[in-house]
Every structure is written in structure tokens, then in C-alpha cells.
């Protein structure tokens, strides 16, 4: 049984610290979520455990972390459903070749560079229980992810959602996330099947069959939710609860298939009907508890697993610097180059690269999976968290330099179709404002 007093105390402390940090970060023109990510790190061994080890041990005893983790994972399951819900394949189609090339390059460039870096890091930060292929593929997937919800939040705060830059960025980020999660699913299957589980072809076959059932079967059922919503102007509590059960069932299916809970919830969100009002309605139902209560617990749990003191000595900081450098060159540079080659002006292309370089919360989700399946070591996990914080934190100031307010106002396209203009704004609600 969990020590209820400890658990409630933990939740209260986490909420207070996250709200305060989020507010402070907003004052320096950062999205609140960046502050909450930092708050999580502050509550872990990197700061609280280092400055006040006894208080840290009292507040977060090792025996209690399982319950904190369980709560935070429920939050991430719902969060991934909301992320999938906000992704609309039509956004990419509306952007044409430029977005296709940019999104694909923004995946392959960091992926290949990270895999190349893995040649150097594998003998130094891994061990022989991890195959190089798994290590390199995971590094690639982790570096190529874009924080779709954080990106949408930043665009919204800067009134850039309706600019060409904003719409291309949203479309590319959506493709990046879907592709990144597919690659990650493959890596998880690869790793688990290599450990005496089911053969890889059976797992992959099961995953493909599940995806087909979801897309061609369950999606039709979900369309009925949208129809009922349209007819009645809302959904009953029972229907919302049923939808939640479907999300959890989907998560359980992917977990039992040998991938991860989060893939199921993400897929359920992705195949949901994308009518703007329906999406907005679901976000309103699910986001408050997820964003204000459960996600801060995830940040805290991630922070408790992040031990920056493991990154000690010039050698380790060199590895960390290389990771940050490769992440920025691959993602920012790759996206910038591709968009520039497809005709986007240089400054705008650099802005797009900066936006795509935002990793935020999605990176933390992926890194936690990597640490759970032990494909990355605790020190590498901490370095990658530092990279996620830096790349997310740098987005707002760099974007301000590249696309100052005057330029943003000039480039806003109010004449853009209502559908495209409205679509990304649905995502903004996925993260705290």
C-alpha cells in the first residue's frame, strides 16, 4: 500500500513548484511547460537531492516512486491521446512538396547524425547488454522528434499560427511525431524480441494488424462520436467515459503486443475524427486534469530520474556538448536547409529550423521509454534531458531574433482558409498557457 500522506505531499509540492516555475518562465517569454520541465529537474537529485539530500529522501523516498510513476504514466497516456487527437494528416497535404521534403529531411538529418554520433558514444556511455543497432536507432529517434504541442503553443503565443512559417512548421512537426513514434515502436519491438520474447515478425505482424483494425474498423466507430456530438451539441458523461476506456484499451493492446502503452493511446488520438469543434470539445474534457495535475507529476518523475551530477568531468560534458550540437545541427540545420532549398526565404527557413528544433515534453516521454527499456544509460539520459531543455529553451529567444514582431505581423495571412487557420489552435490547449 502506498503511504498516502507521502503521495499527497509529493503531489502538492510538485504542483506548487511547477506552477511557480511555469509562471516565472512565462515572465521571461518562455512557454509555461518549459518552466515545468525545469521544475521537475529541480525536484530531483540534480538540485534538491544535491542541496538537501535528507529532505529529498524524506519527500521522495525510493519506495514511493512507483506510485508517483504510475500516476504520471496515466497522465502521459492521456496526453499522448491528446497529441494524436491534434494531428491532422490534411495539414501536410495542404502544404505540398515543400512540407513533405522539409519534414522528411528534419527527420533523416538528425537521425543520421545522431547515429553517426552513436559510433563515438556507444563504447563510452553504453554497455555490452545493449546492441549497437538498438542504441543508434534510439539515439536517432530521440534526436529527430519535435515537440508538436510546445511548438504549437509557441506559435500561438507569437501569433504565428496563420503565417506560412507557422502552418508549415505545424505540418512538419505532425509528420515528424508520427514518423518518430513509428520508428520508436520498431526499436522497442526490436529490443524486446531480442530478449527471448516473441519473434519480431510476429510482433510486427500483430502491430500492423492492430493498426489496420484501428484505422479501418475502430475509426468508423469513433466517427459515430462525432456524429452524436454534431447532433446533440455534446457527449454524455457515459460516452466520454467510454472514449476514455477505448483509449486505455488501445494502450493495453499495444503494450501486450510488445510495444508500449503510449503508442496505443497516440494511435487512438490520431484516428479520432478531426472536426474542429469536436476536437476542441474533447480537449476541454481531458486537458485540465492532465495538464495541471498529471503532467507535472511526469515532469517531477523525469526530474527524479535525471541526475546531472552523473555528467561530471570534462569528458562527460564534452559528450553532452556533442549531443546538444548534433541535435541542433541535425534538426535546425536540416530543416532550414530543406525549406530554403524549396524556396523559403533564408530568415524564414532559419525560423522553421528553430521551431522544428523544439523537443520539449515529447523528448522527455521518449527518453523515459529509453531508460525504462535500458537502451540508454542514466548518464546518457541526463545528457539527453539537458539537450531537450536547451533546444526547447532556445526556441523563443532565437525565434524572436529571426522573426521579430514587426515581421510576424507583416507575414500573417488572415485570408488563409478557416479550416487550416483553426486547426493548429486546437493543439494549443494540450499544454498549459
Amino acid at each position: 500500500m502506498p503511504n498516502l500522506f507521502t503521495l499527497v505531499l509529493q503531489i502538492a509540492v510538485v504542483l506548487v513548484v511547477c506552477r511557480v516555475a511555469g509562471t516565472l518562465f512565462q515572465k521571461i517569454h518562455q512557454p509555461r511547460v518549459v518552466g515545468e520541465m525545469f521544475a521537475g529537474i529541480m525536484l530531483g537529485p540534480s538540485l534538491l537531492g544535491w542541496v538537501a539530500p535528507h529532505f529529498s529522501a524524506y519527500l521522495f523516498p525510493a519506495s514511493s516512486l512507483g506510485f508517483l510513476n504510475a500516476l504520471s504514466q496515466v497522465g502521459v497516456i492521456i496526453f499522448m491521446f491528446l497529441v494524436g487527437l491534434g494531428i491532422n494528416p490534411r495539414e501536410l497535404k495542404s502544404q505540398g512538396h515543400a512540407a513533405v521534403l522539409t519534414s522528411h529531411v528534419s527527420i533523416t538529418a538528425p537521425f543520421v547524425l545522431a547515429s553517426f554520433l552513436a559510433l563515438y558514444l556507444y563504447p563510452r556511455l553504453s554497455d555490452d547488454s545493449v546492441a549497437f543497432t538498438s542504441f543508434a536507432l534510439f539515439m536517432g529517434a530521440a534526436m529527430s522528434i519535435t515537440a508538436f504541442p510546445v511548438l504549437a503553443r509557441i506559435l500561438n503565443e507569437r501569433n504565428m499560427l496563420q503565417t506560412r512559417l507557422g502552418t508549415v512548421a505545424i505540418a512538419c512537426a505532425a509528420v515528424d511525431d508520427v514518423t518518430g513514434w513509428c520508428i520508436l515502436a520498431y526499436i522497442v519491438v526490436l529490443i524486446r524480441s531480442s530478449h527471448g520474447g516473441m519473434p519480431i515478425w510476429i510482433i510486427l505482424g500483430g502491430v500492423v494488424a492492430f493498426a489496420l483494425i484501428m484505422i479501418y474498423g475502430v475509426q468508423r466507430l469513433l466517427q459515430r462520436f462525432a456524429t452524436i456530438f454534431e447532433n446533440q451539441g455534446g457527449l454524455s458523461e457515459n460516452m466520454v467515459a467510454f472514449m476514455l476506456v477505448l483509449v486505455l484499451a488501445s494502450a493495453l493492446c499495444t503494450e501486450s503486443l510488445g510495444i508500449h502503452l503510449l503508442f496505443g493511446s497516440f494511435l487512438m488520438g490520431a484516428i479520432m475524427p478531426k472536426e474542429q469543434k469536436f476536437v476542441r470539445y474533447l480537449l476541454d474534457r481531458f486537458e485540465t486534469v492532465t495538464v495541471t495535475l498529471l503532467l507535472p507529476l511526469f515532469f517531477a518523475f523525469t526530474g527524479l530520474r535525471t541526475n546531472i551530477t552523473l555528467v561530471k568531468g570534462p569528458e562527460m560534458w564534452l559528450y553532452c556538448a556533442l549531443i546538444v550540437l548534433v541535435a541542433i545541427v541535425g534538426k535546425l540545420g536540416g530543416s532550414m536547409l530543406a525549406s530554403w532549398l524549396t524556396g523559403m526565404p533564408g530568415r524564414e527557413a532559419a525560423g522553421l529550423g528553430t521551431l522544428m528544433n523544439t523537443r520539449g515534453l515529447m523528448e522527455l516521454v521518449i527518453l523515459n521509454i529509453g531508460l525504462d527499456i535500458k537502451v540508454i544509460s542514466p548518464a546518457l539520459f541526463s545528457m539527453m534531458v539537458i539537450m531537450a531543455l536547451i533546444t526547447t529553451f532556445m526556441t523563443s529567444p532565437v525565434l524572436e531574433l529571426l522573426c521579430p514582431e514587426e515581421m510576424r505581423r507583416k507575414e500573417a495571412q488572415p485570408e488563409r482558409s478557416q479550416e487550416v487557420a483553426l486547426q493548429p489552435s486546437a493543439i494549443n490547449a494540450v499544454l498549459p498557457s
Binding site: H97, H104, V130, G197
Partner: protein
């Protein structure tokens, strides 16, 4: 194929297809790389001998002999947790060296700071992996060492392995 489609195809080949080919090469060349031996996990440790002077010093570690020792590895470096005692160490090939700090103030005859040095050799080819070595009190030549043997517990979580 229109002019713009042609340009798109060329750009796609150079910026996407070629790097993916490069990725295949990277994955192939990486297979020959050797990472440090894995000691990450939970170990059941047993003392082969027990000598009175060291027992009191080892008890200062706050480690119950029945409690497994946990090693968390990052490349050659690792952290070791034995009960309330924590320490860090390095693995070089099959040789492990670590230093554990006591959880409580050690007796006066337990060296300057009472830290316990762990020196061990990994039996990498054994299944499950095994460690054999000695625990000695740092800075206390008069304290006798204790030989130990440890067996790695089967991991509960699946690991990113071969």
C-alpha cells in the same frame, strides 16, 4: 514529370534517400564496436569469509547482507547502492573498482573516513554473470579484507540487448 516535381525528386534523393543509405553503413560499421562489459543490475552478494574487524566496518555501511546490491551503469562508470551506502566505481575490461561511503559514522578503527573499497573481477561469460572480489577498508591496513562472490539477478525489465 513536371519541372518542379523533378527538382523535388532530386532534392529528395540527395537529402533523404542518400542519408538513409549512409545510416545503413553506420549501423553495419557499428556492429564491430565493443562497449564495456555490463554490470548494470541487481546483484546478490555473499561474503566468502567474515572477519571481526571488518564486520564492524562493513556494518557501518548500513548494508544488510541479505539485501541485494544495485549497480547503475553508464559506460565505464557506475554507481553502486548497498542498503543505505552509496558509491561510485569504474569497470575496465573485467576489473571493477568502487568506493562505498558508509551510511553511519564508522568505528574509530575503520580508517579515516570508513569508506570501503570494492575490487572485483567480472566473470563475463558466466550465465548469470558473476563477480568475485574483495571488500577492504580504505586507509586501514590493519583491517582485514573480506572476499565475496556475487551473482547477477535475472533482470525483470527487458533490456536493449543483442
Amino acid at each position: 514529370m513536371s519541372h518542379s516535381n523533378g527538382k523535388f525528386a532530386i532534392a529528395y534523393v540527395f537529402l533523404v534517400a542518400l542519408p538513409i543509405t549512409g545510416l545503413v553503413g553506420i549501423l553495419r560499421s557499428g556492429r564491430s564496436l565493443k562497449a564495456p562489459n555490463s554490470v548494470d543490475g541487481v546483484w546478490n552478494i555473499q561474503a566468502a569469509t567474515t572477519k571481526a574487524p571488518l564486520s564492524s566496518c562493513v556494518s557501518a555501511l548500513g548494508h544488510d547482507p541479505d539485501t541485494p546490491v544495485t549497480i547503475s551503469q553508464s559506460g565505464k562508470n557506475f554507481t553502486i547502492t548497498a542498503g543505505k551506502a552509496r558509491g561510485t566505481g569504474v569497470i575496465d575490461g573485467t576489473a571493477l573498482q568502487a568506493s562505498l561511503s558508509p551510511a553511519k559514522v564508522p568505528a574509530a578503527n575503520c580508517g579515516s573516513d570508513g569508506s570501503v573499497a570494492l575490487t572485483a573481477t567480472l566473470e563475463a561469460k558466466a550465465s548469470p554473470r558473476a563477480l568475485s572480489g574483495i571488500l577492504s577498508v580504505a586507509g586501514c591496513p590493519s583491517c582485514e579484507s573480506v572476499e565475496f562472490h556475487a551473482l547477477k539477478q535475472a533482470s525483470i525489465q527487458k533490456k536493449g540487448g543483442q
